[in-house]
């Protein structure tokens, strides 16, 4: 098994063979992937060395300290956080060899075609159809997806489509890799309440997907999707923050810099949220220590729920604290950003954008159900949709 000392030596070798100062960004990233230092826990040849995942942070830090370029994870988050674990777990050898390297280097951006106008929290009700073309064996896909970030920059997508409407909803779904340059793919910006269009609607009309780009068995897409969605929650809730990192730091800075804005009522709310933010930070720190010790706890579910509530409350407080300035909004221009910045821009933007934190990646209400049932072991609500053919469900 590769250990920390091996990895340090490999980092040194990589830096010696490809000095960051004189190597192009993409060339360096490709060499890093080939050296197994992209995802150290991946198999050799697929960006890794079969090393413990916990050793990745030291590799990242060592390379960053030497001035090496990173792969700009904020721009390719869907690929790194969701597509890659799914491709690794469920892709054929050919699929993994073809897709993982340009995904990691950022040469190919990925997006996720899951949610639909009629299938949000109840994702398994999705209606986009994939029909087998008997002549070629290809799949022909028709339907509409929504809330797709990066669709306008993406080369590839992970796609869920219904292949058998006669089965109950969870059983008739298949998981595909979709070519976003197919002429049947149309991407339209979806403007949100912040004024910008971070997401898209994607219309699929006669899109052709070769059977080799299917992940998992026909009809097994729901199980494959669980790999993706589990990783989504980790990637949304898992970021490390220092004391006063994140939103509370912005509000605290305003409090310190603008004494004329202080009121007693706002002081109590600020202290409440400062304490809650510090406890959330410690909870994340404890979760990281559990993961490092090889004893992951269910606290990951707590992180996303907690941060959604905190982001909303802190950004709302900051708008009120700013008084006259809180009535202003930086820029309503419709833009299509390549990345999301929850803590950036002005307080009004943060307040509005944070509303999405309790909706994206699983609504807080659904996550509370998951905590109640999977962590606490409470009985599920009675359901009448599990054994009904998808085509007979109300919609």
């Amino acid at each position: 098994m590769t250990d920390a000392a091996d990895l340090r030596a490999r980092v040194r070798d990589l830096l010696a063979a490809h000095p960051p100062a004189t190597t192009g960004r993409t060339d360096f990233l490709r060499a890093r992937f080939d050296a197994g230092l992209a995802w150290v826990h991946h198999p050799a040849g697929l960006g890794g060395l079969d090393a413990p995942r916990s050793l990745q942070a030291a590799v990242d830090a060592g390379l960053a300290a030497a001035g090496a370029p990173d792969n700009d994870p904020g721009r390719i988050g869907i690929g790194l956080g969701m597509a890659a674990p799914t491709l690794l777990a469920h892709g054929s050898d050919e699929v993994r060899a073809r897709f993982l390297k340009p995904l990691w280097t950022g040469e190919e951006v990925w997006c996720q075609l899951f949610s639909e106008p009629g299938a949000g929290s109840d994702l398994a009700a999705l209606g986009t159809r994939a029909v087998r073309d008997a002549a070629t064996g290809d799949w022909i896909v028709d339907g509409q997806k929504v809330w797709t970030s990066s669709a306008h920059t993406a080369r590839w997508a992970i796609l869920l489509a219904r292949t058998d409407p006669d089965l109950p909803k969870h059983r008739g779904i298949t998981y595909f890799v979709c070519d976003m340059t197919d002429p049947g793919v149309e991407v339209r910006p979806l403007r949100q309440l912040t004024g910008e269009a971070e997401f898209n609607e994607v219309f699929l009309t006669g899109v052709r997907i070769p059977d080799a780009h299917r992940l998992g068995a026909v009809g097994d897409g729901w199980r494959v999707a669980r790999t993706t969605l589990m990783n989504e929650r980790v990637s949304i809730g898992g970021a490390r923050i220092p004391r006063e990192g994140g939103m509370i730091g912005r509000a605290a800075a305003v409090w310190r810099d603008r004494p004329e804005l202080r009121t007693h009522a706002l002081h109590r709310r600020l202290l409440d949220l400062w304490v809650d933010s510090e406890v959330a930070r410690l909870t994340g720190e404890r979760l990281r220590q559990q993961l490092a010790a090889g004893e992951p706890g269910p606290e990951g579910s707590a992180m996303k729920l907690g941060f959604a509530r905190l982001h909303q409350a802190v950004s709302g407080l900051e708008v009120e604290l700013l008084a006259d300035d809180g009535l202003l909004y930086g820029d309503w221009t419709m833009t299509r950003p390549e990345r999301v910045d929850f803590t950036g821009r002005d307080a009004g933007y943060r307040y509005l954008r944070a509303k999405g934190n309790s909706i994206e990646g699983g609504t807080s209400e659904v996550l509370l159900n998951i905590v109640a049932e999977r962590v606490l072991g409470l009985p599920p609500e009675p359901r009448d949709d599990k054994d009904v053919p998808w085509k007979d469900l109300a919609r």
Binding site: H267, L282, R286
Partner: protein
């Protein structure tokens, strides 16, 4: 510069937890506690010698060369988690934490403090600070200015103490409890007896002079406030577990009541609070153990957070149990009364928020 906290429980600490939990199940189950709380002597017979002496829990904070176990705050916190779970009447927070930590600050000079400390660590004698249970760490100085004519109200576990640590303007005194007037009060939390203490008639032995005594008592109260968070954590964990158990078993409308989303979400939210309380309480215990530069802030955060979580957990426990939660027979009220009293103990959440405001540079409006 900044201290990297260890927020996990070690295997040794889990073994200690198992020993304490087994002892409490054997000697201090809820029926035992319920049977004693109205007698004026709620302490389960034989529990203290077993806990303090056999397990060695009274000496966890005390170095071996001073007669203790040479463990620390992280281990002591685990004992408090268990005492909180079981809502155990025992002079542990008051004696083995606040009084012991106070004496630890004074024992370096040898003398009477070191001798008393060794007896406390061995579980041979019990001491409590003659101060109201509500006294916050930053309230230590004011204790020494108390007018000499007033008895001290609301002293917790004074009825169980052999020795009272009495703050006087010229220092801290050890007064044998039999020489003071200890008048029991009727407390909200029957598992932690309160008394009015009048030690004016007793000379006592001076343990420290004015300045050293103030710093020592402040240190004792800071450790108490920080480790109280672990008692509150344990209590909240028990409330959540009992509530979940009840909600899975209790049927109404032909369903387990725990399958209704209105109830599930309340329990899930409570779980989130308990997860946060665990991190905050561990951080406080760790900061105290390490003597971290930000220990006072970490303790204030833990108290500002955990006291509310414990009360919320106990209140949810009563509500989600329905009628049975309102009965004397069910132990939920033991947890509710302890949680509510703990909310005031060693500084309210609001007081600890004020400490946060001071230490994190978030000043109140002028």
């Amino acid at each position: 510069m900044s201290h990297e906290p260890d927020l996990l429980h070690s295997d040794t600490q889990e073994a200690l937890r198992a020993a304490v939990r087994a002892l409490l199940a054997d000697r201090a189950g809820h029926p035992v506690v319920l049977g004693r709380i109205e007698t004026g002597d709620p302490y389960p017979p034989g529990l203290w010698p077993a806990l303090a002496g056999d397990i060695g829990a009274a000496g966890l904070l005390v170095p071996e060369e001073l007669g203790g176990q040479g463990a620390g705050h992280r281990e002591t916190a685990v004992v408090l988690e268990e005492l909180g779970r079981a809502v155990t009447p025992a002079p542990y927070l008051t004696g083995a934490v606040v009084a012991t930590e106070t004496l630890l600050a004074l024992a370096g000079d040898g003398g009477p403090a070191a001798g008393l400390l060794a007896e406390l660590a061995a579980g041979e004698r019990t001491a409590v600070l003659a101060a109201p249970l509500t006294t916050a760490p930053r309230g230590a100085d004011a204790l020494f200015a108390v007018p000499a004519e007033a008895p001290v109200r609301g002293v917790a576990d004074a009825v169980a103490a052999d020795v009272l640590l009495v703050p006087r303007p010229d220092g801290l005194y050890a007064v044998p409890a039999v020489e003071a007037a200890v008048t029991p009060l009727s407390p909200l939390d029957l598992t932690r007896p309160l008394a009015a203490v009048d030690a004016r008639g007793a000379a006592g032995t001076r343990l420290a002079g004015a300045a050293g005594a103030r710093a020592a008592v402040r240190r004792g109260l800071l450790a108490g406030a920080g480790l109280l968070a672990s008692e509150q954590l344990g209590l909240a964990e028990w409330c959540l577990e009992e509530t979940v158990r009840h909600a899975r078993e209790r049927h109404q409308f032909n369903r387990p009541v725990g399958s209704f989303q209105a109830l599930k979400h309340r329990m899930a939210r409570l779980w989130l609070d308990v997860v946060g309380a665990r991190a905050a309480a561990r951080a406080a215990a760790d900061a105290l153990a390490a003597g971290a530069a930000d220990a006072e802030l970490t303790v204030a955060v833990a108290q500002a957070y955990c006291s509310g979580v414990a009360v919320r957990a106990a209140e949810e426990c009563v509500q989600l149990h329905g009628g049975i939660g309102m009965t004397w027979e069910h132990p939920a009220h033991l947890a509710l009364k302890r949680a509510k009293a703990d909310q005031l103990a060693l500084g309210s959440a609001g007081h600890h928020q004020d400490v946060v405001a001071d230490l994190a540079d978030l000043p109140a409006p002028a």
